[in-house]
Assembly symmetry: C2
Homo-oligomer: 448 residues x 2
């Protein structure tokens, strides 16, 4: 590990601290100042933010301190320091989409999640770095656990900022692996809800299985932040949105889990595999049954159905990104990365009938997976073949996280595994609409 920073990154859970806010032994302002110490310590080497509003953050933290003291916080996340991924519109900070095409762009109105966070009283510290259009092209953020490594993407800045304690939570978005992968690489909790769970309005996150979600310092922070947003702006139109208690679901010990190997199993690194197998052995030791594809025909069928997940996801993305990509390219094709131009070429070679067939295939895969609910409480998996790779040229291999994306199911990652001293996530996949249940199970596992 690179020793440029002599301290180890440390998350700053908010809900655990807020218990002291009423008594005033701690306050949203003192909590924020702790975050700002980590900003001073980490941001110069990590580069998690595109823009920060320290003055606005301190002002809100002071107002929040007053609200808590009066017993009138706007929500459980009143005063929570958060970051917002820079594909999500904000009307008080530029929203630049990781692209020079949006340089200096200030939207007229904030996105649904941004407005909800403001209405809930949270302290929006800044916009976090995204890859170009939340896609492949990295934009320089470094992993606080080792600044020679990628933080993952596309929610690069959100994961790095939470991992380094600069904020307690941050908005992310995922269509391939853009929440779960960086959350895991940076040693944080990550939550991608069921499809439609959080209103994506006002974010450039347009694809048919993309989700807004959260990266957070604790499992409780992740749930409550997401739930408070949905209480104010709902899910995507036509979706009920995340359903469940406003407080974190009570921990529940799973009885039976399925190991999802995915196509990633062929490329998993020894250390990651050992870490996962040790975790599974511990689970079994404690009386939780863990079944695999060799034990259970329905799981084998699902593994086979998911084998082409990455190819399916990339074709769906290519087709569904024809617009706005054609609008961007018409403006200035040279401002677009080669990877984005390649995607346009992929779409060009597709027909409407092929896209229709892929949608049908995705629906069939979802139906196959859904049957697993009869046999297991949830599925578990590692989040990547290994720790965050060295270098900033890519954001790492998404092979283990893309299945959860195309399935449209809720996914949580817990910072419970390690490989070579770097964090790696234990991924838990639930069933569509069962987000609260998944959090209960994840809490059960996280307490073991």
């Amino acid at each position: 590990m690179n020793q440029e920073n002599h301290s180890t990154p440390k998350r700053r859970p908010f809900l655990a601290a807020s218990a002291a806010f009423a008594s005033g032994t701690e306050t949203p302002r003192t909590f924020l100042e702790g975050c700002l110490e980590d900003v001073a310590r980490w941001e110069p080497s990590v580069g998690a933010f595109t823009v920060m509003d320290l003055e606005g953050a301190r002002r809100n933290a002071d107002e929040s301190t007053k609200r808590w003291a009066e017993g009138k916080p706007l929500s459980a996340i009143d005063g929570m320091p958060v970051g917002i991924k820079d594909i999500i519109d904000t009307d008080d900070m530029d929203t630049q989409q990781g692209s020079v095409l949006y340089q200096g762009h200030r939207p007229l109105f904030g996105a649904a999640s941004a407005i909800a966070l403001r209405l809930a009283g949270s302290t929006i510290l800044g916009k976090t770095v995204t890859t170009e259009f939340a896609s492949s092209e990295p934009r320089g953020t470094r992993n606080p656990w080792d600044v020679t490594r990628t933080p993952g993407g596309s929610s690069s800045g959100s994961a790095a900022a939470v991992g380094a304690g600069m904020v307690s939570g941050a908005m992310g978005t995922q269509v391939v692996g853009s929440i779960i992968r960086p959350a895991a690489f940076c040693g944080t909790y990550g939550y991608k809800p069921s499809v439609g769970g959080i209103n994506r309005g006002g974010s450039l996150d347009l694809l048919s299985h993309s989700c807004s979600g959260v990266i957070a310092a604790s499992l409780e922070d992740a749930w409550v932040m997401a739930r408070e947003i949905v209480a104010r702006v709902g899910g995507d139109p036509g979706h009920v949105g995340i359903v469940g208690p406003m407080t974190p679901p009570a921990a529940e010990r799973p009885k039976r889990l399925g190991l999802l190997q995915t196509a990633g199993w062929a490329v998993i690194e020894p250390e990651a595999q050992e870490a996962l197998e040790r975790a599974i052995a511990d689970l079994r030791q404690s009386g939780i049954e863990v079944v695999t594809r060799t034990d259970w025909a329905a799981l084998e069928e699902t593994e086979q159905a998911l084998a082409e997940s990455l190819d399916i996801a990339m074709k769906i993305i290519a087709w569904e990104w024809r617009w706005p990509l054609n609008a961007f390219m018409a403006r200035d094709a040279s401002a677009i990365s080669q990877s984005a131009r390649d995607r346009a070429a992929t779409a060009e070679a597709m027909t409407q009938a092929e896209y229709a067939a892929i949608l049908t295939r995705r629906a069939a895969i979802r139906a196959t997976y859904a049957k697993l609910a009869d046999g297991v409480d949830a599925l578990i998996s590692v989040t990547a073949p290994g720790a965050a790779p060295v270098g900033l040229a890519t954001t790492g291999n998404p092979i283990f996280v893309v299945p959860g994306s195309i399935l449209g199911v809720p996914v949580v990652t817990l910072p419970r595994l390690q490989a070579g001293g770097m964090p790696l996530g234990l991924q838990i996949l639930g069933f569509e609409g069962g987000d609260a249940k998944l959090f209960a199970l994840a809490a059960g596992l996280d307490q073991m």
Copy 2:
């Protein structure tokens, strides 16, 4: 009828004219100049546009003329003069959403449909007036058939512009009755596709059953304009988009139609009812069977299921509009109409569970309606209780058009009925995904 204009409005079908473009006896430029004559004649009293770009239109028409002469038009709608409803983003003209909150707003990039129309070579004449946020509050456009009357809404300017011959086609959007109602009131063809049929990206048209669609001078123009858009930008993400030939589907004579009375039957005006009943008598005369709720139990069941359509639609809209309405109100509540504020209050009084129940109810209504496909080719109905009402304070009663919206099925209106010398539409409702079939049947009826 008001005689301020002594001429009768006349539509200008584009495809019928384009046959002469290759030979040069007519050209996209001469065609455009015809439209501009109608702009000079009608626009001062009608007010269909928020902004026009005559210079750009003429430049494109000249380029198009050259392309046709060389036998290389970009599409069948190359050079077609069109208008774009002002809730749909354009990067070369302001997009003002019928609201002072967006006054002078110039989006960075055009919406999917706007970009597709440009790529297809069409001549975008201007942005057409919309009610506030494509909702209830009118913005002053008048009906070219009688300028003391509403053109309908929310696609007010699109319908008025097509009805008066100022353009051959225009983009509209519908979540209650915003395409079909104004198209009918202004004596044009209107087409609301199956849900997801045309990519809504970049338009403030966010609700779970809203659709982008077209208002056009002929049935052929409507189909081809929509189809050329979908060829370039697809349907909404996750939807295949309108499927069918690039050319207008061949006319097909229906065998059996169902009359959909809807809740509007209780308030239909005598002249409208007589016009519809005469049309039905003609259909029967020519050998087409027309069944009603009294003839067929499945249709009676559907009529009952649809009885609360308007209430269901208004609740869905209220809930799904919490954002961006809360963003607008946070900025300047005084800039928002009372009707929009009332909608916010409706949403405030709803719970997530109520919204979930309404989504379930809508799905059940759709399933009930879908069963009618076993017995009839399509459903027919009138588009409003009567002709466009006098006055500009409202855009007319949506009671006959809201069922097609919540059902998510394709709907076409033909300018085949009249009431008191004013146009009224014959509405034809198909089945989800059967847009091409619906156009074939509509062509069959339109030729009778």
